[in-house]
């Protein structure tokens, strides 16, 4: 916000977009609780700049993912999804000290620390951000979604605020429909494993906000700490 002028309203667009997706998802904890940008702006400040509706839910729940070889997956009853690439790690110096983020180098302070993971992920899959049809971005706090979008190359550094405020993440018309289940802000906070499950649903054609012809889904873990990401593909 200090460097690029990102605003609370821009972060609010993320929360409202994900809530709108949740309204179509019968599993979503906040599915029956519509939210407007005015509601977001009126929600109490928790730790500036994060208001209540910038913070993820606290949820009890569970989900599971079965991972196996492509050969075995062919015999499964449900249509498998291909794991195109996966990477984990961080950029140099990002984790310095147990209070990880206070002494990271200046050049990576205002990032999510995911640029190294992103570079390896795209290289491993032979894909780039333009190949992604739908994304599930870890949303512990709205503002961290902006950092992940920048880290993974969907917009330039500092342009994430206008990118999300322009409707980029909205299903069905945005350039990158994101958190089509409602995310941790509005479906449930199952520590992001529900984002993997939603990625599988998209590539099976089973999402409640289905992206037509979705072939590639990016799933990311938390920005702000050493992180990881997956690229899933339709089989």
């Amino acid at each position: 916000m200090h460097l690029y002028g990102t605003t609370s309203e821009q972060m609010g667009h993320i929360a409202v977009t994900f809530r709108t997706h949740a309204a179509r998802n019968p599993r979503a904890v906040m599915g029956q609780r519509p939210m407007t940008l005015a509601d977001h702006q009126a929600s109490p400040m928790i730790a500036d700049p994060f208001r209540l509706f910038d913070c993820c839910l606290e949820s009890d729940g569970a989900c599971a993912v079965v991972v196996t070889t492509a050969e075995r997956a062919r015999d499964c009853r449900r249509r498998p999804v291909a794991l195109l690439a996966s990477a984990q790690g961080t950029v140099r110096g990002y984790g310095w000290g147990p209070f990880a983020t206070v002494n990271i180098p200046d050049e990576s302070f205002a990032t999510g620390g995911g640029t190294g993971v992103a570079r390896r992920l795209w290289a491993q899959a032979g894909l780039n951000p333009g190949d992604v049809d739908v994304a599930q971005i870890y949303d512990h706090f709205s503002g961290l979604v902006i950092l992940s979008l920048e880290d993974f190359g969907f917009c330039a550094r500092g342009e994430g605020g206008p990118f999300v405020a322009g409707g980029a993440l909205a299903w069905p018309d945005g350039v990158l429909p994101t958190n089509t289940h409602g995310g941790s802000l509005s479906e449930a906070y199952i520590h992001g494993l529900n984002h993997v499950v939603e990625g599988v649903r998209q590539l099976r054609g089973e999402s409640t906000c289905q992206v037509d012809g979705a072939d590639v889904c990016l799933v990311t873990s938390a920005a702000g700490v050493p992180t990881s990401a997956l690229l899933l593909g339709r089989q």
């Binding site: 928790i46 730790a47 500036d48 110096g93 310095w96 000290g97 206070v102 002494n103």
Partner: protein, 142 residues
């Protein structure tokens, strides 16, 4: 020793470890330290056994002036310790310490309205004595 207090008595007290004991002992004397690698010269906080730059175990303390600038901050509006309710909102700052080789320390801004905090704000250390032999550095506008 000053008697100034900004936070309630039942805040969790600092717990010194073998690696941080020297830092807290200096703090009790109102001296602010950073740790420095004696091989490559890289400074670091919090104190730890290993240089993150060159992996050397050789280290020493370096005293700094207690002046610095606010690198980033948040203003907290929730009382995570119930007795903090009377202190809200309080300001958490990350201070880049002058003469430290760029080391940053997480602390609080005190003696100032929360609305005045900003990136680049000049601050100086203000010691809060919690009890015999225990002091915590806060910062006030310089």
């Amino acid at each position: 020793m000053s008697n100034q207090r900004w936070f309630p008595d039942d805040m969790p007290p600092p717990a010194a470890s073998r690696e941080t004991l020297g830092w807290w002992q200096a703090a009790a004397e109102h001296r602010l330290l950073v740790q420095r690698c004696t091989d490559c010269g890289q400074t670091r906080m919090p104190p730890g056994p290993l240089c993150p730059a060159c992996r050397s175990f050789n280290r020493a303390w370096q005293e700094v002036s207690g002046h610095g600038t606010v690198y980033t901050y948040t203003i907290v509006h929730r009382a995570y310790v119930p007795s903090l309710a009377d202190t809200l909102p309080y300001v958490v700052i990350v201070v880049e310490l002058d003469g430290s080789g760029g080391v940053r320390l997480t602390s609080n801004l005190v003696d100032a309205d929360s609305a005045v905090v900003h990136v680049g704000m000049a601050v100086e250390v203000a010691w809060e004595d919690l009890g015999p032999g225990v002091a915590v550095p806060r910062f006030r506008p310089a």
